[in-house]
Amino acid sequence: MKPFTYERAGSPAEAAAAAARRPEAKFIAGGTNLLDLMKLQIETPAHLIDVNGLKLDTIEPTQEGGLRIGALVRNTDLAADERVRRDYGVLSRALLAGASGQLRNRATTAGNLLQRTRCPYFYDTNMACNKRRPGSGCSAIGGINRQHAVVGASEACIATHPSDMAVAMRVLDASIETVKPQGATRTISIAELHRLPGDTPNVETVLEAGELITAVTLPRPVGGSQQYRKVRDRASYAFALVSVAAIVQPDGSGRVALGGVAHKPWRLDAADAEMPRGAKAVAGKLFADAKPTEHNAFKLPLAERALASVLADARG
């Protein structure tokens, strides 16, 4: 690791102020992704602001009948929360499909949203990567890109977002609460949080420098059959090739978001509208603009079949 200085913040305002003082700083919470990247010198922050003492680790009901999840709630605790298991099953399922027990015990709600891609060319500092070194090119395009994005990618980057949790948050219409370095707060919809790569794949979210996520809010429960289906190369502890987060209502209507196919959780209104007509119709909309590569074209039929399986299960 490159050397860094370290401080602990005691409140969100303190953390924001620290970030304002040290624009090159990174927040550290669980650290399970950041420290991995720091060891590889993919991330080289000169300063770390430890936010673990911010007391943002509770899950509270909202006035609207939803849940407000503190940014520091660990993945294990969120997945195991009785209200989440009962009313937001797709979220519990997605969390439990990700990482390992050890990692889920440390990884936080906010950190999970902000984790970086596992594109092997991003991880290999000898390779060109516009995300890691803007302007250097993309080794994944034309490389071995079986794991990469099939839709929403660009000439600059075909990486995917690795999170399972974020896919469930997307289908649940979660909102992200933040505080900026100067102290202003705002709410960002999960749909807006992550950016498509475009020509700046290094800019992954709409968060400003030093902006800190304080909570993720879920709207009131929508019921239905809630499912998360993850397809991967081994049965556990692997990132998704494709994943499907779906909420299916008794009348056949519903919502669906895909993981493993794009730079962000992939959900389209036009695809949701096709839910009563089945997986083929939904996949047709989700992949209308798909540009798969030779290696990852399998993801299109795989996602459609995973969705068909989910819909069959939802019908019981």
Binding site: P3, K39, G101, Q102, L103
Partner: protein, 215 residues
């Protein structure tokens, strides 16, 4: 008077050190994964103090902030039972219990844990008084080379506590029911501990025996 070279870290205290410091103190720079590119002028060291409990014993350490909990245990406290496998959170050899919960000690900084209660494999049992999980691994031959074993055992102890606490897993059929103690549950929950010798079936047997004796 010049400020002391080693400052106590308090909440809000900012360590006013150059970004390019090399390390001295309990853990040498090389162990904190210092880059060979660190310029020589960065010889001024800043270490941080942190105090926590390891296996019931209070420990006060002064560390380069880059020191992982794993390196602090192995190199700073000579607790070499906890193993370094991949050092990237992929193998589970470094699993320890932090305030009763299993974590990868390679993916957290020691200075992030003031006041914590840490248990390593050395704290579970001793050669004369084995923890039931240690005894079961011996009985069922739950290893071959043994390198992953301390992590497997720490993880297994935590897995049983997690099932007891009602924490669901990826293979739990009903999210709203108490998880069952099945082979499928144990295999899923232990997936963060890799055994390259492939002792998995014996590991499941060992954990199953301990779980059964508790029931």
């Amino acid at each position: 008077m010049a400020s002391p070279p080693q400052q106590e870290l308090r909440r809000r205290s900012m360590i006013a050190a150059a970004a390019t410091t090399a390390a001295i103190g309990t853990v040498p720079a090389a162990l904190a994964q210092s880059s060979a590119e660190t310029p020589p002028e960065a010889a001024k060291a800043t270490t941080l103090k942190v105090s926590f409990t390891v296996n019931g014993k209070p420990r006060d350490l002064e560390l380069d902030p880059r020191t992982t909990l794993l390196d602090a245990l192995r190199e700073g406290m000579n607790l070499t039972g906890t193993k370094k496998g991949c050092d990237h959170g992929q193998c589970g050899a470094c699993t320890v219990l932090l305030d009763g919960r299993r974590i990868n000690s390679c993916l957290t900084l020691a200075v992030m844990h003031p006041g914590a209660d840490i248990t390593t494999v050395e704290g579970l049992g001793t050669p004369d008084r084995l923890h039931p999980m240690q005894a079961a691994f011996v009985k069922h031959d739950g290893y071959q080379c043994g390198y992953c074993t301390p992590g497997q055992i720490c993880s297994a102890v935590a897995v049983l506590a997690e099932i007891e606490a009602g924490i669901p897993s990826h293979v739990t059929t009903d999210l709203n029911a108490k998880p069952q103690l099945t082979g499928a549950e144990l295999r899923e929950r232990m997936s963060g501990n890799i055994c390259r010798c492939g002792a998995y079936s014996n590991i499941v047997d060992a954990i199953t025996e301990v779980a059964g004796s508790k029931a």
